[in-house]
């Protein structure tokens, strides 16, 4: 039997949270607004209307490029991408074809480094609503979203598993979230994922050559759309790997096509084949002069990047001695990370241990959210004054070990990937303990103990 190396590239769309749309003055915040209340001649594509690019959106795209170490291009331009669809009022989308704002770039993951092809800026389309009106099935168009700035981040086909694809997408989301330029909310559609997947045959026994310079890409590529969460991204890719493996095993070549992911079945379904591939007839947008920058303009235009998640992690772990998993938890959002850092700085000034403060913040999440950095430090101080010589951890850990010993079947299941059994284990510890316990603490101790097994 042959084995295959998945070749995966991701295209990620992110809506920018600028005040106004990409090419007109309408508000860009469209979520939940009364349909067609945020429109004008420009975003409705009325005769005679002209696009004027949003400077903030351009700067933010450059900022994203800088965060991923991309090359910011001194010359760039907008192009028209033509296709007919009811949600595209002009019959073309203003996008960027061969001269994007940013080229290259890298995303660093625990699994390795993924290169970016490009980062470009375009306009979002309107939204179709298929519904019933007076008993008749109808399709309605809401143009509130039409013209909202949309950044597309394209990776090289250097991802080789669904899990890495998921980590990659999550990392992109986290970084853009930290930049503060997009909500990156998948449910609201402000972040959208598309995956290009194909499989490369590998001779059994030989070490897969994954250096991009040496990979000869497969002769086909399947694009999967309609992926609405990171979990579905993983599912869709795995489903596609399975489907393509079966075809290749039969000695056939999968069709080059676009497929849509169906959540209910967890499978992908063909939408458009190569024969029906579109010719977008790209050409330079004549209504917008080409963009030209000097390196010094980049310096003055682009604000200094805020601290990125990795920088926070480094600080938390190396400077403040936090446990890596705690450091991760406290960098979940830019708000929390900034608050934690401020609190640690304050704690250190007052001679307190930032790691102890981190423990407190993690154990009492509900409070952490509400309190200011200085209030958190005060809380820690008061706890120290009243604290017992023995910490909870040392009293609970023996109980945890006892429970694990008593439930070998649950432990096995946990290690097989059924992590939900942890609930039952927490319950067992509760029963065993003479005094009430904090389930969150117990869960952490259990996870810790299980990891050592």
């Amino acid at each position: 039997m042959k084995t295959y190396l998945p070749i995966i590239g991701l295209e990620i769309h992110v809506e920018l949270r600028t005040k106004s749309k990409m090419f007109c003055g309408c508000p860009a915040d469209h979520f939940g607004k009364e349909p067609n209340t945020q429109t004008c001649p420009v975003c409705l594509g009325l005769p005679g209307a002209l696009p004027v690019p949003n400077q903030q959106a351009i700067i933010w795209t450059l900022m994203i490029g800088q965060a991923f170490n991309a090359t910011l291009n001194l010359e760039s331009k907008f192009d028209r991408k033509h296709y007919f669809y009811p949600d595209l009022p002009k019959g073309y989308q203003i996008s960027q074809y061969d001269e994007p704002l940013c080229s290259g770039g890298v995303v660093t993951l625990p699994e390795g480094v993924i290169s970016l092809t490009r980062i470009h800026l375009e306009e979002d389309t309107g939204k179709l609503q298929h519904t019933t009106l007076n008993g008749q099935p109808v399709s309605l168009v809401d143009f509130n979203r039409s013209g909202v700035p949309l950044v597309e981040i394209v990776s090289e086909p250097q991802i080789h598993s669904a899990a890495t694809a998921k980590t990659y997408a999550q990392t992109i989301r986290q970084i853009i979230h930290f930049l503060g330029v997009s909500d990156c909310d998948m449910e609201k559609g402000s972040m959208r994922l598309e995956a290009n997947i194909s499989l490369m045959s590998i001779n059994p026994g030989s070490k897969p050559q994954t250096d991009p310079g040496f990979i000869r890409l497969p002769q086909y590529k399947v694009e999967v759309k309609n992926i609405n969460s990171f979990r579905f991204l993983e599912k869709a890719i795995n489903a596609e790997i399975q489907r393509q493996t079966a075809i290749l095993d039969r000695g056939q070549l999968p069709r080059q096509e676009t497929r849509g992911f169906t959540e209910v079945t967890g499978t992908t379904k063909s939408q458009r084949s190569k024969e029906a591939a579109k010719d977008y007839r790209y050409f330079p947008e004549p209504d917008i002069p080409p963009l030209k920058f000097t390196p010094s303009q980049f310096k003055t235009l682009i604000p200094q990047l805020p601290l990125m998640p990795q920088a926070y992690l480094d600080l938390f772990i190396k400077t403040y001695d936090l446990r890596p998993d705690y450091a991760q938890t406290l960098t979940a959002s830019p708000k929390l990370a900034a608050k934690s850092l401020a609190a640690f700085i304050l704690a250190q000034k007052q001679g307190l241990d930032p790691a102890a403060l981190a423990n407190l913040m993690i154990n009492q999440k509900a409070i952490t959210v509400k309190l200011s950095p200085s209030a958190l430090v005060n809380l820690l101080q008061s706890k120290i004054k009243t604290s017992q010589p023995q910490s909870k951890t040392t009293t609970l850990m023996p109980l945890v070990r006892e429970v694990l010993k008593q439930n070998p079947d649950l432990v096995t299941k946990y290690h097989q990937g059924k992590v939900s059994v942890i609930g039952a284990l927490i319950g067992a510890v509760k029963k065993l303990s003479p005094s009430p316990v904090d389930p969150q603490t117990v869960q952490q101790l259990l996870t810790q103990a299980l990891a050592q097994k």
Binding site: L46, P47, G48, A49, V52, F283, P286
Partner: protein, 470 residues
């Protein structure tokens, strides 16, 4: 007729209260009633009551309006959107289209107190040079009703020749202002690309389209240009260059300025009477203090190919929005000529053909830019014919798409370069059909073109002649 006078004269009379805007507007509507049925220059006539109401407002608040255009009736080519007033671009696709907003050029004229009285006939979407490609019946040439008025701004040109208003706003993509001006004995200015905002101008070819004045004289054009030129936050391609006082600069000294005559444009294909009439003007220009120099511009012969490939590529894109889903009628209502242009443009942009056509044409465009740059090292302005032929009879041009295209040969090379050009009357054929010449200038040299045109019109009388219809 009141409207025989220049805008400056009329404006002075209005200011001195020796004339009212109401009288002026009333005369315009009276002439329109008599003449328009013969020439069909209008697509939509503004209701007289509405125009008179505006006229009364200007008359009563005279001091508030400082512009010389205040109270003066004017026309818009029907390619400019006007809020609540039907705008068709002469296409059945937009037969009943009532725009929810107005073009910048309309707003600027409204601010100056000018009074819009009509939306004028044209070749649909600007596609043509004879105003025959219209869904609202062709406009007739007032000098001979069996002949075309030119195009695509044929409606405004014919109307001005008949004094139906004081001035008009045309739109020039490849000669659309200059061609009908020359064939109707009127004056028209194609401005530098970006000089006047295109916001609200229904696009033909976005990188060529220019918004410019049409009038009886260069001096009138100068007053109108001053009112409409300048940067517009709604048009990213509008120029930041300051707007000079074109009217004051009309009398600037022309001493030491040189007119270049590209001799290769006066060869085959140019009708003899037109050639003779234009070259006769050399003496007039010399008398004005201008020097003359002959030169060659061989690359201009690629102008038609460059113009039609890029222009039609852009038009195929610009017209994609007319799908009849949200406004207007569906695309079956495009004329054959427009469908042909959409198809040629779509073809030129298609995968596999882009490099051979669109990209080559853009290279050709660069060559045209260099050719003009080179010419302007020898002279300040270029003297060129506008049309190779006199206005043809109806059907002659439209029956033969290739001849139709050839008629644009002298006016399509300026738009890809962005240069300004002024068309002024310079004679008549033996059949009493008007002849025009064009003066092509460097980028943003409108002031010089208008000054030469004005001083030329001070010593010639061609522009004062009127069709016998009147």
């Amino acid at each position: 007729m009141l409207l025989d006078q220049s805008i400056h004269q009329i404006s002075t009379l209005l200011r001195q209260k020796n004339l009212s805007s109401v009288e002026l507007v009333t005369e315009a509507y009276q002439t329109i009633k008599e003449i328009n049925p013969q020439i069909n220059a209008f697509i939509t006539l503004v209701e007289q009551n509405l125009a008179l109401k505006q006229a009364r407002n200007v008359d009563q608040n005279r001091v508030k309006f400082t512009s010389p255009l205040a109270g003066i009736p004017y026309l818009l080519k029907d390619s400019y959107v006007t809020q609540s007033l039907r705008t068709t671009a002469a296409s059945a696709v937009l037969q009943n289209f009532i725009p929810p907003y107005s073009a910048t050029v309309y707003h600027r004229l409204e601010d100056s107190g000018a009074i819009l009285i009509g939306k004028m006939n044209m070749d649909a979407w600007g596609h043509g040079g004879s105003t025959e490609n219209t869904d609202f019946k062709p406009t007739k040439n007032p000098y001979e009703l069996s002949r075309v008025a030119g195009g695509s701004s044929g409606g405004p040109a014919a109307a001005l020749a008949c004094r139906l208003a004081a001035f008009a706003i045309g739109e020039d993509t490849g000669g659309s202002i200059r061609n009908p001006a020359a064939w109707t004995n009127t004056t028209g200015l194609k401005v530098t690309y970006g000089r006047v905002s295109r916001y609200g101008c229904i696009a033909y070819a976005s990188s060529f389209d220019t918004v410019g004045p049409m009038a009886k004289t260069a001096a009138d054009c100068a007053l109108v240009l001053k009112a409409i030129a300048g940067q517009d936050p709604y048009d990213a391609t509008s120029a930041v260059q300051p707007v000079p006082d074109y009217y004051q600069k009309l009398t600037q000294s022309l001493k030491g300025k040189t007119i270049g005559i590209p001799t290769d444009l006066y060869g085959d294909g140019l009708d003899e009477p037109i050639k003779t009439a234009i070259l006769k003007q050399k003496k007039v220009f010399q008398a004005l203090g201008l020097k003359l120099v002959e030169l060659k511009m061989p690359l201009l012969r690629y102008g038609l190919a460059v113009y039609y490939l890029i222009g039609l590529s852009e038009t195929s894109s610009n017209l994609a929005r007319y799908d009849g889903l949200r406004f207007g009628q569906d695309r079956h209502f495009f004329t054959t000529e427009t469908m042909r242009r959409i198809m040629i443009g779509t073809y030129a942009l298609s995968a596999g053909y882009y490099d051979a056509y669109y990209r080559q044409a853009q290279k050709g465009r660069t060559l045209l830019i260099r050719e003009y740059d080179q010419a302007f090292t020898h002279c300040d302005v270029l003297l060129m014919p506008v049309n190779p032929i006199s206005p043809p009879k109806f059907g002659e041009l439209i029956a033969d798409p290739l001849t139709n295209i050839m008629a644009d040969i002298y006016t399509v090379t300026q738009n890809p370069v962005g240069l300004p050009s002024l068309a002024v009357p310079c004679g008549f054929t033996p059949n009493q059909l008007p002849i025009g010449l064009q003066l092509v200038g460097q980028l943003f040299a409108e002031d010089l073109l208008l000054a030469i045109g004005h001083q030329y019109q001070q010593v010639t009388t061609w522009h004062l002649q009127k069709p016998q219809l009147l």
